[in-house]
């Protein structure tokens, strides 16, 4: 009998463009591959067909993800994935639109589109892979690089504070906000499928490792060491409710952090279109 891991791999392999796009660009041990597996398994679990799924990304390591997947895939310009995705979704609301972005792509150059996609509450599921650094260009600091952490453009320590994309998404008006890690891959599957089933804007932050740059520059070790760090520092949101602030210091919350039902942008627009049809 196949093990659960084998079964999961079998599912993932059905959705890969094995012939054309491999080998991938990611470093050995990179967490982005884990997120790709989670996205695929989440799509499979909610039963969407390959034809109705559109996977949109911007520029960066995380944004190379769609090319490997056998969906309708759209690799756009730096930071603009959500804006492209908005056009796809609004022009054809029957499509299931996912955006894959990173901390630099989604929160720096794409920060404006990020908050406005949340505000519109358009039915797009966004997976923001946060490795706290620009990997593709070689280790520059990003909007989530912690204060005093090192990057090639912060050789004396980061003078800026990093921000929390989950708090930003909630404040900006998203319906569903969650955080997982690439260590907790099975939980990540569920968090993404929860986002897919949500009618409205869903943002799932996936904490990932860039051992090549972030780990090396900040002496956090290799991929395994960084995964262990995630294991030790992730606290399920529910468990955190009964914990003291001292215990939660240096920790981050995982799980579904925000989940509400609000009117969705495309559905509301369709009501407007229908109202004109009735008049005729």
């Amino acid at each position: 009998m196949a093990t659960k891991t084998q079964q999961q791999s079998d599912v993932t392999h059905q959705y890969l463009r094995v012939k054309k796009s491999f080998p991938n660009v990611w470093c050995a041990g990179c967490g982005i591959g884990v997120v790709m597996g989670s996205i695929i398994r989440a799509i499979d679990s909610v039963g969407y067909s390959k034809d109705e799924v559109v996977l949109v990304s911007g520029i960066g390591c995380s944004s190379r993800l769609p090319v490997y997947c056998d969906f309708n895939t759209l690799h756009t310009t730096h930071g603009r994935a959500l804006a492209f995705a908005t056009g796809v979704k609004l022009a054809k609301p029957s499509l299931k639109v996912l955006v894959v972005t990173g901390d630099g792509d989604g929160l720096a150059i794409g920060g404006n589109h990020f908050i406005h996609a949340c505000r519109r509450n358009i039915d797009i599921t966004t997976v923001l892979i946060n490795n706290q650094i620009y990997g593709m260009t070689g280790g520059q600091c990003s909007p989530t690089t912690p204060h005093n952490a090192y990057a090639t453009t912060a050789p004396y320590g980061n003078n800026e504070k990093g921000f929390d994309p989950t708090v930003l998404a909630k404040a900006a008006g998203a319906s569903y906000v969650a955080r997982g890690t690439v260590y907790h891959a099975q939980q990540l599957d569920k968090l993404i499928s929860g986002g897919l089933e949500k009618k409205g804007f869903a943002m799932i932050e996936a904490i990932s490792n860039c051992h090549t740059y972030y780990g090396r520059l900040n002496k956090e070790g290799d991929a395994v060491a960084m995964l262990e760090w995630m294991k030790k520092h992730a606290i399920p949101a529910r468990a955190a409710q009964g914990m003291s602030p001292e215990k939660l210091q240096d920790k981050f919350l995982t799980g579904v952090l925000w989940d509400v039902d609000m009117p969705e942008y495309c559905q509301e627009y369709q009501k407007l279109i229908d109202s004109f049809k009735k008049k005729e």
């Binding site: 463009r17 054309k20 796009s21 390959k50 034809d51 109705e52 559109v54 949109v56 769609p66 090319v67 056998d70 969906f71 309708n72 895939t73 759209l74 690799h75 756009t76 310009t77 603009r80 804006a83 492209f84 995705a85 908005t86 056009g87 796809v88 979704k89 609004l90 022009a91 054809k92 029957s94 499509l95 404006n112 589109h113 406005h116 627009y269 407007l272 279109i273 004109f276 049809k277 008049k279 005729e280």
Partner: protein, 381 residues
């Protein structure tokens, strides 16, 4: 749909005529951002698109506007945006994306004075070269320039036709005066003007190549969600759309972008001429400047000066061959532009040695008037 348009003769702004032309052409998606002097186009689309079953969205900026337009086009909708100078600049990176990813869409640039914020409420024709070379890299552009309200309608329809036929972004270059002035216009009946749809794939899903090299170099276009599952990227790609670093495939891609348009340049050229048969001196102008130039030429003819007018409606591709022909028997060509001299360099490039090229410019936010041009004709003739 009968509620939205009327076929009666109507007094209409150029910007409104662009809206009506877009709807006539089948535009069903508009993503935009307010900017003077183009805003009436967004407002008109916001009002009318839902009545046609289409979608309007006001995006957070111009970068997002053109991005959403490209996304909507990939999903199968005829899509457009409208903007002016600063917004046109912001859009340039994603317009480049539309060139390389070969996504049909229409961008209307209602020109105002620049650079930067410049003259938001005043006229200019200073984006002439931006419409050709605005984004980085090698590519070939199509841009049309209406000179009346009626032409705003017709050229918007044409812009969609070119976009869909050649699978490329097309620029409609109007200006503050053309956009805001009102003229009488009769909206054509459905079927009166040609409306072109993008070529749809007629092959099994597994045979489909989103960038297949065809005899015309224009590939079939599937929409997302139809089972073809293609990849779209701004990276230089092969015929299937996957990134490539192979020199032969890179060259093939850039040649495709060039020749799918330039092989058909003759079909794209729209050149309006008046009284050129015996002209010794002629005025070359487009858009609002051509309106004044036309009047000046008529004044000159009244004074028995053999003047003529050349008015390009298609600015890009530039009508090289047609101009060489027109200028072969002309001694002087006066190039009138509301900028510091942009198209004049193109004329200098194509004009025969027997024809002297004289530049006449105005860039103080005012339109040029016929008498100014007439006086200059007298000086150079």
């Amino acid at each position: 749909m009968s509620t939205a348009t009327t076929t009666a003769r109507r007094l209409m702004q150029g910007n409104e005529a662009c809206v009506q032309g877009a709807l006539y052409a089948g535009c069903r998606y508009f993503g935009g951002y307010p900017i003077t002097p183009s805003t009436e186009i967004a407002e008109g689309m916001a009002r009318l698109l839902p009545r046609y079953g289409g979608h309007f969205i006001q995006m957070e900026d111009e970068i997002g506007s053109i991005a959403s337009v490209i996304g909507a086009s990939l999903a199968g909708a005829k899509s457009m945006t409208a903007t002016s100078g600063p917004g046109f600049s912001l859009m340039q990176e994603n317009i480049g994306y539309a060139y390389i990813a070969e996504v049909p869409c229409v961008i209307i640039d209602v020109q105002r004075g620049g650079p930067s914020t410049g003259l938001p409420t005043k006229v200019a024709q200073a984006d002439t070269m931006q419409a050709r070379y605005g984004t980085h890299g090698d590519y070939y552009a199509i841009a049309v320039a209406p000179a009346s309200v009626r032409e705003c309608f017709e050229q918007t329809v044409k812009a969609f036709n070119y976009a869909e036929r050649f699978r490329t972004p097309v620029i409609v270059l109007t200006d503050e005066v053309i956009g805001h002035m009102r003229e009488m216009i009769t909206i054509p009946e459905p079927g009166e003007l040609e409306v072109i749809e993008r070529a749809r794939p007629d092959v099994p899903h597994e045979w489909y190549k989103h960038y297949e090299i065809t005899p015309t170099l224009v590939s079939m276009t599937a929409a997302m969600g139809e089972g073809y599952r293609f990849h779209t990227t701004g990276l230089t790609h092969d015929q299937e759309g996957f990134p490539t670093a192979r020199p032969d495939e890179i060259k093939q891609k850039l040649d495709k972008l060039k020749f799918k348009i330039m092989r058909f340049a003759d079909e794209l050229v729209q050149l309006d001429t008046e009284m050129m048969d015996d002209a010794g001196v002629c005025v070359f102008a487009y858009g609002i400047a051509a309106r004044a130039a036309r009047q000046a030429v008529h004044i000159a003819r009244d004074k028995r000066i053999r003047a003529g007018l050349i008015r390009p409606i298609t600015i890009w591709p530039f009508p090289d061959e047609q101009l060489r022909e027109q200028l072969a028997h002309v001694r002087r060509v006066l190039v009138v532009e509301l900028n510091q001299g942009q198209l004049v360099h193109e004329i200098e490039r194509v004009a025969p040695k027997t024809c002297k090229v004289v530049s006449m410019t105005r860039y103080d936010g005012e339109i040029i008037n016929p008498v100014e041009i007439y006086k200059r004709i007298l000086e150079v003739k």
